[in-house]
Symmetry: C2
Subunit: 214 residues, 2 copies
């Protein structure tokens, strides 16, 4: 368990890195921990309606750059993560989760029929089924928040990127027809010494302006 | 900085707490750190388009319970956080951020005109302006992911709750006309000894199923 000061120091230290040192790579053991953090992200019903694409191929990154508002973090970072979310939710998605729970916990799938019905009646045929991609995109944002905090705690820099053209990403990453679409991205690595944004004061509204106690 | 094992142990330890010990409260210093973590959440452009409501009043919590799929965490947890997002984004939201940057960093607001224009052309009058509430809701999910990870790292239990009726929450929390709407909630506190979910194996898909390297 960490001390509060240790956590807050990490969250104060992090910032949306504008310039990465392209020569510095995240060591394999740290990257393995960040991947594992991503996998451990909590999601609605545990459905994990996403894929995380780690784009390491230089040519692919170069192709993404013009569709990323020209942000050079795409090509200079150590690891570039694209968060993609399910376009729709089908019965097969729910069956797959129930099979996985059954396998991991050694319980019969039939014992989860009420849970199966609840998921089908919500994310497939119910209210969230109608906005399934948006619901899945929100789960991607949980993963994004989790990964940014995990990276900060481990001393790894990151830059979240909403500034990209999802349709162009989908083409370059060959997502068409896969049932997944690009939502957001996160560049990870180490800040360049010359990144002047690193030393700017962090701007947040006053606590009293953001948090109300009722 | 934490070691990878320390972080992963915390993420393995956490689970969606079903039964809170209603007698255990988060100590003030830990809660202050969690509040500060929330405030430090990164958001698109830094716009922080949300309010976090900490619902501590017992009568209000009791009123929310029937609109929370009957999940008793609402009344039994130590701190109950409701994430609310801006319904629309206006020029005043952008002006407010620029004024805040100007004040915190001691730079003239005029020097940020290009940044102001970019925000206005995106989240107010541009593509994200058309889906401003959804865009703001996604920022709430960054905060949710951040706060869940922060809580785990500090040894505080939590249960995320999408299972609530936002319109009923909005009425009870008197959000109508404020420009904010309920998106999601997080109950925080300490697990009850008898919560059988605490000891169940965590269910996630295989890393190879969630993460693809390109």
């Amino acid at each position: 368990m960490s001390q509060p000061k240790q956590l807050l120091d990490a969250l104060q230290w992090r910032y949306a890195t504008k310039v990465f040192d392209a020569t510095k790579k995240i060591p394999a053991d740290l990257w393995a921990a960040l991947e594992k953090s991503l996998v451990l992200t909590p999601t609605s019903y545990g459905l994990q309606p996403y894929h995380f694409l780690i784009v390491q191929d230089a040519a692919t990154r170069a192709a993404l750059l013009p569709h990323s508002w020209g942000q050079k973090q795409v090509v200079d970072c150590s690891h570039f993560v694209v968060f993609t979310a399910r376009t729709e939710m089908h019965k097969a998605d729910v069956d797959k989760l129930v099979a996985r729970i059954s396998s991991v916990r050694g319980v019969p799938a039939e014992s989860m029929t009420p849970y199966w019905n609840m998921m089908i009646g919500d994310v497939v045929n119910g209210p969230r089924g109608k906005i399934a991609h948006e619901w899945a995109a929100r789960q991607c944002y949980i993963a994004l928040g989790n990964l940014m905090t995990a990276a900060a705690v481990l001393g790894v820099d990151a830059c979240p990127m909403e500034g990209l053209v999802p349709m162009e990403y989908d083409k370059i990453l060959k997502l068409e027809g896969t049932g997944y679409k690009t939502v957001v991205a996160l560049a990870l690595g180490y800040r360049a010494e010359g990144d002047k944004y690193a030393s700017l004061a962090k701007v947040r509204y006053e606590t009293a302006d953001l948090i109300k106690v009722i």
